[in-house]
Amino acid sequence: MADIQHLKDLVSQVRRDIVRQVHAVNSGHPGGSLGCTEFIVALYNEIMDHDPSFQMDGKNEDLFFLSNGHISPVFYSVLAHAGYFPKEELSTFRKLDSRLQGHPTTHEGLPGVRIASGSLGQGMSVGIGAAHSKKLNGDDKTVFTLHGDGELQEGQNWEAIMYASANHVDNLVATIDVNGQQIDGSTDSVLALGDLRMKFEAFGWEVVTVSKGNDLEAVIAGIKEAISLSRKRKPVCILLHTVMGHGVDFMMGSHEWHGIAPNDEQLADALSQNPETLGDY
């Protein structure tokens, strides 16, 4: 394992990047980004075999697809720290002529992004396609995807979930960020998702539950367990229980911070809770 302290430092720095990006343009999605920080940091710095020099076809690399594209601030920060593009570019987030669009896209040629996402519900299908492609190419690497729990309300996911097990797409690890929140309120109040473990199992998937989705060690252990269950003719799902807004106390656990930016005072407060460790951009 990479130095755990380094990973923790990275988590703190990424959280700073998230709130600063969103604050700078008074626009963006801090809540889900903060909640998924440990997961994406772990994926890119502990789990995936990937190449920041970036080839679009990603042959012989592990691949990650962000389906819930609105949490772009965490994705961009992790990619920048991994060396895909200069950290300074984070200051262009959501601005005119930037490669860092509000939602990630290949259109502006940002290294690290292989497909556009933002219109919810499409990422699992894409992940399946990439996983098929790997098998056809004799490439034994893994495809990872991340989805919001509210995103599962989009029907295309269930087409994909059914397809993946029927076709033994077992080089795919799909993670659901179960934070129980969406724009209009809790997932229970908007459109209850029911028992996700039972649903995935009924659809023929292996399921790993990570109950502490904001605990770095627990997240790493969960992803490793998921990988150990892969290649057994079943797709694998991680139910990652996170807290929306984690790491910034006044944002935690509320849908209110799904898509709004902190003001100057709130930014200062958020930064004070997440020390600068690896240098601000």
């Binding site: 076809d57 299908s125 894409v126 396609g129």
Partner: protein, 318 residues
């Protein structure tokens, strides 16, 4: 006047199936996906010969488009197959985000387009798909006229990098283009030299346009006939050069007059050389059940109406 011979009526979708089967042998990166319409799309030959490269996704078109987009990552060239309605309108957002905006090398192949799907009626006939697809930045839109041309187009799009919409149909229609005809994306085919009126047609109506030109010839009217198999990018030069000679134009397509070939031609001419134009197309209406021939006649998508519109537009010349 040049004459064209129907060498034996065949369906355009079979041209697609034959082209795909050939690609299966010649290009190992070609993969095919189908949403429970393998027989209708004539994809069986490919599926039988290359089971490892054929993906049956079931009745789940959105998932099919997403999987196809994902397969391009890794260098595959996916051809998706289903009816035109389910290839476009049903999955517009998936095509927009995962294919067009992401510039993925997906070939969306659509059969049973237009009215000639016939008896299944309006729910399955789509008359707005060209418009939907041509409005997407970066999307190439092709509508082929016969079996041979559909086969040639299928082969050509595999070598073209970028998203393509390939539109063809269900019924048997005249097969009149050469068996070894070349297919150049974006390059119109000049079928008939004429001086009095330009007729540009796409898809099944190209043969009708040739028939119309014959009728007009008998009346002493000389029609310039152009096959526009690629609606986007449009061969503007071919159209402009023709109307410079003729001074008026008729467009013919199995599509709504809004959003289709006619509108692209009108925009081109409005910008470069304003010209009287008549539209042979459906007039902002849904279709209905009927045989293909009955429907083409009722909605005026035939040689007779093309000739009538040509006479009308000639009178509008200044």
């Amino acid at each position: 006047m040049k004459t064209y011979t129907n060498t034996g009526s065949k369906d355009t979708r079979s041209g697609f199936g034959a082209g795909l089967a050939e690609l299966g042998k010649s290009n190992e990166n070609v993969v095919a996906l189908c949403a429970d319409l393998t027989g209708s799309l004539k994809m069986n030959a490919f599926a039988d010969a290359h089971p490892d490269r054929f993906f049956q996704v079931g009745i789940a078109e959105a998932n099919m488009i997403g999987i196809a987009a994902g397969m391009t990552i890794g260098g595959k060239i996916p051809f998706t197959g289903t009816f035109a309605n389910f290839s476009t309108g049903r999955v517009y957002d998936q095509i927009r985000q995962s294919v067009a905006y992401s510039d993925k090398n997906v070939k969306i192949c659509a059969s049973h387009s237009g009215l000639t799907l016939g008896e299944d009626g309006a729910t399955h006939q789509i008359l707005e798909d060209i418009g939907l697809m041509k409005m997407l930045p970066g999307m190439t839109v092709i509508n082929t006229c016969d079996y041979n041309q559909t086969k040639a187009a299928t082969l050509a799009i595999a070598d073209h990098h970028g998203p393509v919409y390939l539109r063809f149909g269900r019924p048997k229609v005249a097969n009149f283009t050469p068996e070894d005809g070349e297919f150049h994306i974006g390059k119109a085919v000049h079928l008939q030299e004429g001086t009095d009126v330009t007729i540009v047609a796409t898809g099944h109506l190209v043969w009708e346009a040739l028939e119309a030109a014959k009728e007009l010839h008998e009346k002493g009217i000389s029609a310039d006939v152009i096959n526009i198999h690629t609606i986007k990018p449009l061969d503007e030069e071919a159209i402009i050069n023709s109307v410079k000679k003729t001074g008026c134009i008729v467009t013919a397509e199995e599509h709504n007059y809004m959003g289709g070939l006619g509108e692209s031609v009108a925009r081109t001419l409005a910008q470069h050389l304003p010209t009287p134009q008549e539209f042979v197309a459906t007039q902002d209406t849904f279709g209905e059940s009927g045989t293909p021939d009955q429907l083409l006649e009722k909605y005026g998508l035939n040689a007779e109406n093309i000739a009538a519109k040509a006479m009308a537009v000639i009178k509008r010349k200044k």
